[in-house]
């Protein structure tokens, strides 16, 4: 059974890049443009096995999304990865405090991405 991954980023380029990497590895991908859209999907009953979210986004950023997603019933234990850049150490720490499992550093190549996913997602 292929795992569901939700990707959240306000950059369509980033979404496209992530989607193609993930789909090539056999994941089912759902994309959202910001935190609000992501939360709406989650509240609508969509239950991904993993969430990968950008930090800086309009409407609702990644940090807030992580906190809000964790509070949803089915999302208590779901792995969440924050997409950060090299310089965002403080954001990573904050993401972790908000409940993120880990982070990815942009730009990400497909191999690294799959490596990290394998690490946080059992049964891949």
């Amino acid at each position: 059974m292929s795992k569901n991954i939700m990707i959240v980023d306000d950059s369509a380029t980033m979404l496209m890049s992530l989607r193609s990497s993930l789909e090539m590895s056999g994941f089912k991908v759902e994309a959202a443009n910001d935190g609000v859209q992501a939360i709406n999907k989650l509240q609508g009953g969509y239950k991904p096995d993993l969430i990968i979210t950008d930090i800086n986004m309009p409407n609702m950023g990644g940090l807030e999304l992580i906190g809000k997603a964790r509070a949803l019933p089915g999302m208590r234990f779901t792995p969440i990865l924050a997409l950060t850049t090299e310089s965002q150490q403080a954001k990573r720490d904050e993401a972790k405090r908000n409940g993120a499992t880990g982070w990815l550093v942009k730009p990400i190549n497909a191999t690294d991405l799959l490596g990290v996913i394998k690490q946080v997602l059992p049964g891949v």
Binding site: D10, S11, A12, T13, M14, M16, S17, S20, N33, V36, Q37, N40, N56, M57, P58, N59, M60, G61, L63, E64, R70, R76, F77, T78, P79, I80, T85, S87, A90, K91, D93, E94, K96, G99, A100, T101, G102, W103, K106, P107, K118, Q119, V120, P122
Partner: protein
């Protein structure tokens, strides 16, 4: 070009537009910090995306810009006009870079190397070097005895010895997941199962298990001890998300042999006997303190460090150390200097390490270098001293706060839409063949029933075709903001050059019109705005002298009016003086003096549209360029639009452009003249009448007719097209007359006969035919014949 690159280009251009407009907005309101976050986010996203491609020059520029914006956002750097200029330069560079990539697929030779001047210019804003590196050189690591389990099976021991002899590195790992780690999506067991080459493992509870009824399944109480062969880098990588929960020690042959040695901690040092974690924290605090020792005492960071030190010392139950620490703190407070505290901490740390080293025991002395089982400190570098960073989530724009979920948007290349459009056009044309077929079925083959069925079928196809047309029109609709968003930058640049002060107001940017219309608007609009800035709006001194505010106002407003989109451009400048126009036109001999004298002020103002007219004394490099308002007007009229000009001397000028929402489908009236059929755009047809021969009166060689109390000049189409035939009259000796509106004047066009109106897809004429004036294009009819579409305005000119 691959899809990802295309997407990148498109998104980057959008980001650039936003960056440009945000920068300008910030220049207008320098105190408004709400936009900083947005600006940073835009630059940041661009930079992140550029990293997906091999564009080192682009990334270098964006990286520098991002660092500058970060500094501005964190108040480390003030926002100023020179800085805005620099950032706009960077935006221009990025734009040129994207152009190169778009046209050639790669950046090309000009964009291989980062533009040194630009990058350095940006970086120069960040004059003070960052504090990073201050920690280097201070390598304080607490030492740790080998923790190899005593009860290691001998088989594992042998494996270890073999591996180490084969130059593999072995580590003992101690992973104690946080109690709440499950709620961060971590599965510690999965985590350790991913480790390579595990030789031995043990999983124990961190604290004794509670009775079953009191257990919390989701409070992690596990401790993993693992012996494995791995590189230190891979371990650090593997546990990077839980760096504070995992520790590892390298295993050497010597430490394997010394497993049985009992370990004592030397005493006598200030910090001897401290837990390794405490030593680590102290060492981190030492580094942090030395980094900020120059700051005036006590800074926020100093206070944080002192608090941390105090807590750590208190936790270690060492009265002597605590007392020494408190003494030094008092001293630092008295001297307002971090030095006393710093020197105590450094002395105590060094002593602790010196004391600790021999404790690894005599057996290990020969290989001391690789001994001492150095624990790899994973604690974050500055525990407790990282200043809380303000959240950078972009402030919402008021118009974005509407909580409804945004519509899904699919971005499609224009060529695809155009193709669809053409295909739909063909359907429209093809379906027009059905009535002919029905006619033939009935008249040629006497199949009345079949003809009726074909007609019924036609009605269905017709409806679908209309819906299709409507749908594709909707797809092609785009907001006027697409062209309006370039104006803030344009206005800023021009006014700077002219030393004028102008406040640009944009309204109704979300008004939509067909893409082709929007594009047709772009050039004329730029020209109009340039004109207004150049000739309309006065310099500040002149404005003040005229009793007006120093800063002029230029307002561009878009709105929708039935099936037209109206763009009005208004300024509060000096206006157009009809008398000056009159003098100039007379001097240039563009209009006969007698006609000029008879003109109203409004008519005089409209003369600016005359070819060869230019209001400015000299053609400036801004609005000049040899293009006059006549070109603007014909550009607008070419796509079926109208242009209206009004002006009050000393008060300002208003120009309004009215364009059809869509130009894809045109309704024309089919007429016949000189044995040929033509189409005339319906929106110019005021009415069609039958005119008796005797109703035509010739005034000054000009045939006219009285219609509803107005005298209308008459022209014969044959005559206009140089066809040597009389217009045909019907049995009752009546002419077929069409009253047309041409530039707000009514003209009567005499033809041979009218037919019905039809919808056509207008195809502009190309090649030699394109130069023919009097025609706006052609259309293919249902029977395959070509219909020439007339352009009455040009015809009457």
């Amino acid at each position: 070009m691959n899809a990802l690159l295309q997407q990148f280009l498109q998104e980057s251009r959008e980001a650039l537009e936003s960056i440009g407009s945000t920068l300008l907005a910030m220049e207008r309101e320098p105190g408004d910090h709400s936009r900083l976050g947005e600006l940073f986010r835009l630059v940041h996203t661009l930079k992140g995306n550029s990293g997906l491609f091999d564009f080192p020059a682009l990334t270098a520029v964006l990286h520098a810009a991002e660092d500058v914006m970060d500094a501005v956002r964190n108040d480390a750097l003030g926002f100023s006009q020179p800085l805005a200029d620099q950032l706009l330069d960077a935006a221009d560079y990025v734009s040129a870079f994207l152009d190169a990539v778009e046209s050639q697929g790669t950046p090309g030779a000009d964009f291989q190397v980062p533009p040194r001047k630009l990058v350095e210019g940006l970086r120069s804003w960040l004059a003070t070097p960052a504090l990073e590196g201050a920690n280097s050189g201070v390598a304080l690591v607490s030492t740790q005895n080998s923790r190899l389990p005593v009860d290691l099976p001998s088989a594992v021991r042998d494996l270890l010895i073999d591996a180490i002899n084969a130059e593999r590195t072995a580590f003992l790992l101690d992973y104690q997941p946080a109690a709440d780690c499950f709620f961060q999506g971590t599965d510690p067991l999965h985590q350790v199962r991913q480790l390579p080459d595990v030789l031995w493992r043990r999983i124990r509870p961190l604290e004794a298990w509670l009775p079953a009824a009191e257990i919390d399944a989701y409070a992690c109480n596990l401790r993993f001890e693992i012996l494995l062969l791995a590189s230190e880098e891979s371990l650090a990588e593997h546990f990077r998300y839980v760096a504070d929960q995992a520790t590892w020690w390298p295993i050497t042959l010597a430490s394997l042999q010394s497993v049985d040695e009992s370990v004592d901690t030397a005493s006598g040092s200030d910090l001897a006997g401290f837990e390794p974690l405490a030593l680590d924290i102290l060492s981190t605090q030492y580094q942090a303190l030395s980094a900020c020792s120059q700051e005036p005492w006590p800074s926020g960071q100093h206070v944080a460090i002192v608090t941390t030190l105090e807590r750590v010392l208190a936790s270690q139950d060492d009265v002597t150390a605590m007392a020494a620490f408190q003494d030094c703190r008092e001293q630092s407070n008295r001297q307002n200097d971090a030095k006393p505290l710093l020197s105590w901490l450094s002395g105590a740390m060094e002593k602790a390490i010196a004391d600790d080293t021999p404790s690894t025991g005599p057996v290990t002395t020969p290989v001391q270098g690789e001994l001492g089982g150095r624990p790899i400190a994973c604690q974050a570098l500055a525990l407790g001293v990282a200043p809380d960073q303000a959240d950078t989530i972009t402030p919402r724009r008021a118009d974005e706060t509407a909580s409804q979920a945004p519509a899904k948007v699919l971005k499609v290349e224009q060529e695809k839409i155009d193709r669809l459009m053409n295909l739909i056009g063909e359907i429209v044309v093809a379906k027009n063949g059905l009535p002919y077929l029905a006619e033939r079925a009935e008249e040629q083959y006497g199949q009345r029933e079949l003809a009726r069925e074909i007609k019924a079928q036609y009605a269905v196809v017709n409806r679908i075709a209309e819906d299709l047309q409507d749908a594709i029109m909707q797809v092609r609709m785009m907001p006027v903001s697409f062209i309006l968003q370039r104006f803030p930058r344009l206005v800023r640049d021009i006014t700077r050059k002219l030393d004028k002060k102008v406040n640009l107001i944009l309204e109704g940017e979300d008004t939509e019109a067909d893409k082709a219309m929007i594009e047709a608007l772009a050039d004329p609009l730029v020209h109009i705005v340039r004109n207004s800035l150049d000739h309309g709006l006065e310099a500040p001194a002149e404005r003040l002298a005229a009793g007006k505010p120093e800063t002029g106002t230029l307002r561009i407003r878009a709105s929708q009016n039935a099936d037209h989109v109206v763009i009005s451009i208004e300024d509060d400048g000096r206006g157009i003086d009809p008398q000056k126009i009159k003098v100039k036109v007379a001097a240039k001999g563009l209009v006969e003096p007698a006609a000029l004298e008879a003109m109203s002020d409004q008519e005089l103002v409209n003369l600016v549209f005359l070819p060869g007219f230019s209001t400015a004394e000299q053609v400036s490099d801004l609005s000049g360029r040899g293009v006059g308002m006549d070109v603007v007007r014909s550009g607008i009229e070419k796509v079926g639009g109208h242009l209206r000009l009004a002006s009050q001397v000393g008060q300002g000028t208003q120009l309004s452009l009215s364009l059809p929402l869509s130009m894809a489908v045109t309704q024309v009236m089919v007429i016949e003249s000189g044995g040929q059929r033509f189409g005339i755009p319906m929106d110019q047809v005021m009415e069609t009448v039958r005119l008796p021969d005797n109703a035509i009166h010739t005034i000054k060689h000009q045939p006219t007719a009285q219609l509803r109390g107005r005298t209308i000049p008459l022209k014969g189409l044959n005559q206009l097209l140089a066809v040597p035939l009389e217009q045909v009259r019907n049995e009752d000796d009546e002419y077929a007359l069409m009253v047309l509106r041409s530039r707000s004047e009514l003209v009567g066009l005499l033809i041979d006969d009218f037919y019905g109106s039809i919808d056509i897809i207008l195809k502009p004429m190309v090649g030699i035919l394109g130069e023919l004036s009097g025609y706006s294009g052609t259309a293919v009819m249902g029977d395959g014949s070509i219909l020439m579409i007339l352009n009455p305005t040009e015809l009457f000119a």
